[in-house]
């Protein structure tokens, strides 16, 4: 990934950015997010199949923003997250430099948001193949079986909120679960409360999820909670023919409407 290192170094050296958010190798076999502020340390940047975290989550983190202008190593989901964050006014397009990474792992030349938009539009925006099968399997089950499946999975939830924290779109400074007047979501972890939390999370991401799958990956107890938001990604596309994170000016599905939106269940 020499071109990435060269580019990062260059950006830091000519002070175009103060920090490059990328990946580095850790002491174990997994890769981790890295924050390079010193051009001399740009060499530690890596990009390979171990680099999985959605780095866009850091674009809204106060301590990271505090470092100054940011460059970010961005795969397709990260680029789409950036689009969403711009459209939801959390970051400014001109405040970040995107070091785009193509599907085959090479460095893209993303000069500006327009170019990024072009790249995104050319890409496959549906849920990743590896999840499609799982979604299809679940959809094949009877409602009762699905209910049982989710009960079993969600009984494991410990409410650590890693799913929320890992999601770049969950940038609220106060989450609904932290509201206690009224107490929308029980503080304790129990299957029913956990289910309410995951429904809330999925609904809040409806039309905003960009299918990175980080929520599920981050879950320490292995709940496939990304399938909930990804199911809604499919549904948003079915009903409204859109995918999130494709333009900096996009309105979310749930904050807009078309008078002729079709449904078949309202009598």
């Amino acid at each position: 990934m020499n071109s990435l290192i060269t580019r990062a170094k260059e950006l830091l050296e000519n002070k175009s950015v103060q920090v490059v958010i990328g990946y580095e190798a850790g002491p174990t076999s997994v890769a981790r997010p890295a924050f390079i502020t010193d051009p001399a340390k740009a060499g530690t940047l890596i990009y390979d199949e171990r680099c999985v975290q959605n780095l866009a989550v850091y674009l809204t983190k106060p301590e990271v923003k505090h470092l100054g202008k940011m460059a970010i190593v961005a795969t397709l989901p990260v680029m789409r997250s950036i689009m969403m964050l711009i459209s939801e006014q959390q970051i400014f397009a001109d405040s970040i430099v995107v070091l785009g990474i193509s599907a085959d792992g090479s460095l893209l030349d993303i000069a500006d948001v327009k170019v990024m938009q072009g790249y995104i539009e050319k890409s496959d925006l549906g849920n990743p193949e590896k999840y499609k099968e799982l979604l299809a399997e679940l959809n094949k089950l009877s409602p009762e079986e699905r209910f049982a499946f989710w009960q079993k999975e969600l009984s494991k939830c410990i409410k650590c909120y890693a799913c929320r924290q890992a999601c770049p779109m969950c940038y609220c400074t106060r989450c609904t679960v932290e509201v206690n007047q009224p107490q929308w979501i029980p503080v304790q972890s129990n299957t029913h409360g956990n289910m309410e939390w995951h429904i809330l999370r999925a609904m809040h991401l409806a039309g905003r999820c960009i299918s990175c799958g980080e929520c599920g990956r981050a879950c320490p107890v292995g709940i496939p909670c990304h399938l909930l938001t990804m199911h809604l990604v499919d549904q948003v596309h079915n009903y409204f023919n859109v995918y999130a994170g494709t333009s900096e000016k996009m309105s979310s599905v749930l904050s807009t409407f078309e008078p002729n939106d079709k449904e078949s269940f309202i009598i």
Binding site: L138, N139, L141, S142, P143, E144, E145, R146, F147, A148, F149, W150, Q151, S155, T176, W184, Q188, N190, T191, H192, G193, M195, E196, I199, L200, A202, M203, A206, G207, L228, H231, L232, Q235, V236, Y239, F240, V253, L254, S255, T256, F257, E258, P259, D261, E263, F265, I266, I267
Partner: protein
């Protein structure tokens, strides 16, 4: 289960369905007494979480009703609500939560008879489905979970 009286909660907007239900009253059209109405200014105000809370607190069925498309007192609240319910319904289906227990309808201020019909069909359907045992079990099981070490 003949002595089962379903608990049905209705979330309705003030300007159409609430007024429509008023008209049902002034027209003296009788309907099942199992329904309890909660008034909102607009369907756009109805938080999907409230529907979950209704089930969590023991409702067997839910009605959500507002102005017909294009009739919204606030011009677009019901359109936003419609999208919200589309997403909500799909998510509920995906999680296996029984959407037959929720009736979504548009009842205008002039549709007093329709309101009675919506309530009656919903209550009849919930009667056939019986109490929402699986959801109640989910809630109760959650209570047991906490004490399973005891």
């Amino acid at each position: 289960m003949s002595d089962f009286e379903p608990k049905v909660v209705a979330f309705v907007c003030n300007w159409c369905t609430y007024a429509g239900a008023d008209l049902t009253g002034t027209s003296r059209i009788k309907y099942a007494s199992n329904v309890r109405i909660i008034r909102f200014p607009c369907t756009g105000r109805i938080d999907f979480m409230l529907l979950l809370k209704a089930f969590a607190n023991g409702a067997d069925g839910i009605i959500v009703s507002g102005c017909h498309p294009n009739d919204c007192h606030y011009t677009s609240g019901n359109f936003h609500a419609k999208r919200r319910w589309i997403m909500f319904k799909e998510l509920m289906d995906f999680m296996g939560i029984d959407m037959n227990r929720i009736t979504f309808s548009w009842v205008s201020a002039a549709e007093g008879a329709k309101w009675a019909d919506v309530v009656n069909t919903t209550v009849t359907r919930i009667r056939e489905l019986g109490p929402y045992v699986s959801y109640k079990e989910l809630v109760n099981k959650s209570v047991e979970e906490e004490v399973k070490n005891e």
